[in-house]
Symmetry: C2
Subunit: 340 residues, 2 copies
C-alpha cells in the first residue's frame, strides 16, 4: 500500500498539516521539524504526489514550454527564466522541442497531453493562424514572438522593426555604407514573419540615411538561423566584387558563424567588417571579438509569459487576450568598435 501523509506524520510525530507544509515548501515550519519530516519521508519512501495535489483542483502542476530549437540559446535562456518563474509558483516546466515543424506545433495547440499539462507557452515557427483557433477543450496558451497575429491568446513580443532599424543605424553611425542583411529565413516556402519585420527595419534605416540598397547584400532563403548557415552566407558575401563593410545578422548564431567565416578569409572584425547580431545570447559575450547585439528583455518575456499563463489557469486573469511588447536594447561590444 502506498505511503500516505498520515504515515509520515505518525513517523515524524507531527500533524498531517505540518507534513503538508513541508511537502509544499511553505515557510511556517522550523528547520528542526522540517528535517524530521524529511527524514520520515525518506525512510518511508513517501512520494509527495504533486499530481494528486493538483488533481484535486483539476490540475497537473505542469506547464510546457514549446519552442522550435532548444539548441538556440535564445530559447534555452528564456526557458531558464520560465522554469524559475514557474518554480516560484510551485509549477514544473517540461520543455517540448517542436523542431519548428508545423505538425508538432499543431499537436501542442491541440493538446497532445490534455490531462498532463495545465498550460502551454508556445514560441511558434511554422504555425498558421488557422491552427490557433480556440476549441472548447483547449488549455490556456501564451504565445511568444512575432509569428501569429489576431489570435485569441495572450502574446508577448517586441518591436522587431524598430530594433532592426536601431541595429542598422548603429552600423551607419560607424560610417559603414555597404551593410549586408543576413538573413531572411523561410519556413514552408514562405518568409518568416520575424525575418520580414527585421528586413523592414533594415530597409527603413538605409532609406532614412539615403544609402542606396544593393540587393546582393540581402541574404534570403535561409533554412535555419544557425552558425552553419551564417558562415555559408558570409562566404557568399565575401565572394562579391565589393564585399560588405558591415553586416546585420538576424540572430547571434548567424553572426557567430559569419565571424568565423570572416576570420577564415583573413578579414578583420570590426576593422574590415563590423558585425551586429540579435538575441544577446551568452556565447556572444564571450566570443572573440565579443558580439554587438540587440538584447530583448528575456527576463521580462519569461516572467510575463508565466504570469499570464498562470493567471489564465487559475482564473485571476480574465478579459480579452493582450499583446504586450517588451523593450530591447542595443549592446555595443567589440565586433563593432575598435579596441582602444
Amino acid at each position: 500500500m502506498a505511503t500516505t501523509l498520515k504515515d509520515v506524520a505518525l513517523k515524524a510525530g507531527v500533524s498531517v498539516k505540518t507534513v503538508s507544509n513541508v511537502v509544499n515548501n511553505y515557510p511556517y515550519v522550523t528547520d528542526a521539524i522540517r528535517l524530521r519530516v524529511k527524514a520520515a519521508i525518506n525512510e518511508l519512501q513517501y512520494q509527495p504526489n504533486l499530481s494528486a495535489r493538483y488533481l484535486r483542483k483539476g490540475r497537473s502542476g505542469i506547464l510546457a514550454f514549446a519552442n522550435p530549437d532548444l539548441s538556440n540559446a535564445y530559447f534555452s535562456e528564456i526557458g531558464q527564466v520560465v522554469i524559475e518563474a514557474a518554480k516560484a509558483r510551485s509549477y514544473t516546466v517540461l520543455l517540448d522541442h517542436t523542431g519548428g515543424e508545423r505538425s508538432n506545433e499543431q499537436d501542442v495547440v491541440r493538446g497532445l497531453s490534455p490531462h498532463l499539462i495545465d498550460g502551454v507557452i508556445l514560441s511558434p515557427f511554422a504555425l498558421e493562424p488557422e491552427d490557433l483557433q480556440p476549441r472548447q477543450e483547449s488549455i490556456p496558451i501564451v504565445l511568444l514572438g512575432d509569428r501569429i497575429y489576431d489570435v485569441p491568446y495572450d502574446h508577448v513580443t517586441y518591436d522587431n522593426v524598430a530594433t532592426a532599424r536601431l541595429a542598422t543605424q548603429h552600423l551607419l553611425s560607424l560610417g559603414r555604407r555597404r551593410i549586408a542583411a543576413l538573413g531572411v529565413q523561410e519556413a514552408e516556402a514562405r518568409e518568416t514573419e520575424t525575418s520580414r519585420l527585421r528586413l523592414r527595419g533594415y530597409l527603413e534605416a538605409l532609406e532614412e540615411a539615403g544609402v542606396p540598397l544593393d540587393p546582393h547584400l540581402i541574404i534570403r532563403g535561409l533554412p535555419s538561423f544557425s552558425r552553419f548557415y551564417g558562415a555559408r552566407a558570409m562566404r557568399q558575401l565575401l565572394s562579391l566584387d565589393t564585399p560588405p563593410d558591415a553586416i546585420f545578422c538576424f540572430n547571434d548564431l548567424l553572426a557567430l558563424g559569419a565571424m568565423r567565416a570572416i576570420f577564415e578569409a583573413d578579414y578583420r572584425v570590426p576593422e574590415d567588417i563590423a558585425v551586429v547580431g540579435f538575441d544577446d545570447i551568452e556565447e556572444g559575450r564571450y566570443a572573440v571579438p565579443s558580439l554587438t547585439t540587440i538584447a530583448p528583455d528575456k527576463q521580462k518575456i519569461g516572467d510575463l509569459a508565466v504570469a499570464f499563463l498562470l493567471g489564465r489557469i487559475d482564473g485571476t486573469r480574465t478579459g480579452p487576450p493582450e499583446r504586450i511588447e517588451v523593450s530591447c536594447q542595443l549592446i555595443v561590444r567589440e565586433s563593432s568598435t575598435l579596441r582602444g
Copy 2:
C-alpha cells in the same frame, strides 16, 4: 460529445481502420485518401488522442530526458539525438531541467509524474546512489554519465580517465610542460565523479611523462562548468608568477571562457597557451580560434539510451542492467595547433 475515429471515418467515407492508419502515420494509405482523412479530421476538429492510444497499452507515449543544464549544449545536443531516436519509435520526449539539484533529481527518480511518463533518461549530477534504489512502482530509467555506480539501471557512459589522459598527452606532445587542469567541480560540497575521473587522467598523463605536478595549476571548487567560471579561473592562472603554457579544461564552456580571458589579457592561443576542451559542442567548432576537444560519441549515447529505455518499457530488453561505454576521440583544432 468528443469526436471519434468513427465520426472521421463517416465524414471521409473510409473505414475506421484507414483513419487509424492516417492518424498513426502508417504508410499503407494513398496520398489522396490521406488528404481526405486529414480534411475530415480538421473539419471535425478530431483530436488524435495519443494518450488514449498508448493508454490501451498502459502507456503515455512520453519519455523524459532529465538533465542538469540545458543551457550547456552538451546536453541539448544529446537531447536532439534522444528526440530524433524516440520520434522514430513514435515517442515524444519532454525535457526536464533539474538544475543539478538533488531534490529535483530525486523527484525524477521517484516519478514526479508516474502516469505521464513511460520512462526516463537521467543525467544525474548531485544524486547519490541511495536515491536510486528501485521501488515497485518505478518506471524504467537509463542513466547517462559517470556519477552513479552499482545501481540497477542501464547506464551509458564513456571512459573519462582514458580520455582525459589522451587530452593531456596531446598537450605534452606539443612540448608544453606547465599544463593547467581546469576544473574540478563540486556539488553538495563534494568533488563530482566526472571531475575526479578527468583529474585522474590528467595526473596519470603527467606522471607517465615524468612532468612534475604544480598544484597551483589545478583549479578546484568550481560551482559549475560555465564560460563565466572558465574565464574567472583563467584570470587566476594568468596571475601566477609563471602562467601555464597549456590548459586542459574539463568541458568546452570552461575552455571558451578561458580563451576569452586569455584574449583579454593579450596572450595568444595557441602560441602562448594551448587550450583543449571536452564535449565537442558546436560552438567550439566556430570559435576563434576553433577549439581542440574530446568528442564523446553523442549520437551513440542518445541512440543507446533510447533503445535501452524502450526495450525495458516494451519488455523486449530483459536481463540484468548493463553499463556500456561509448568511444571518444580527440579532435585537434586551432586552439592547439599553429596556423600554417
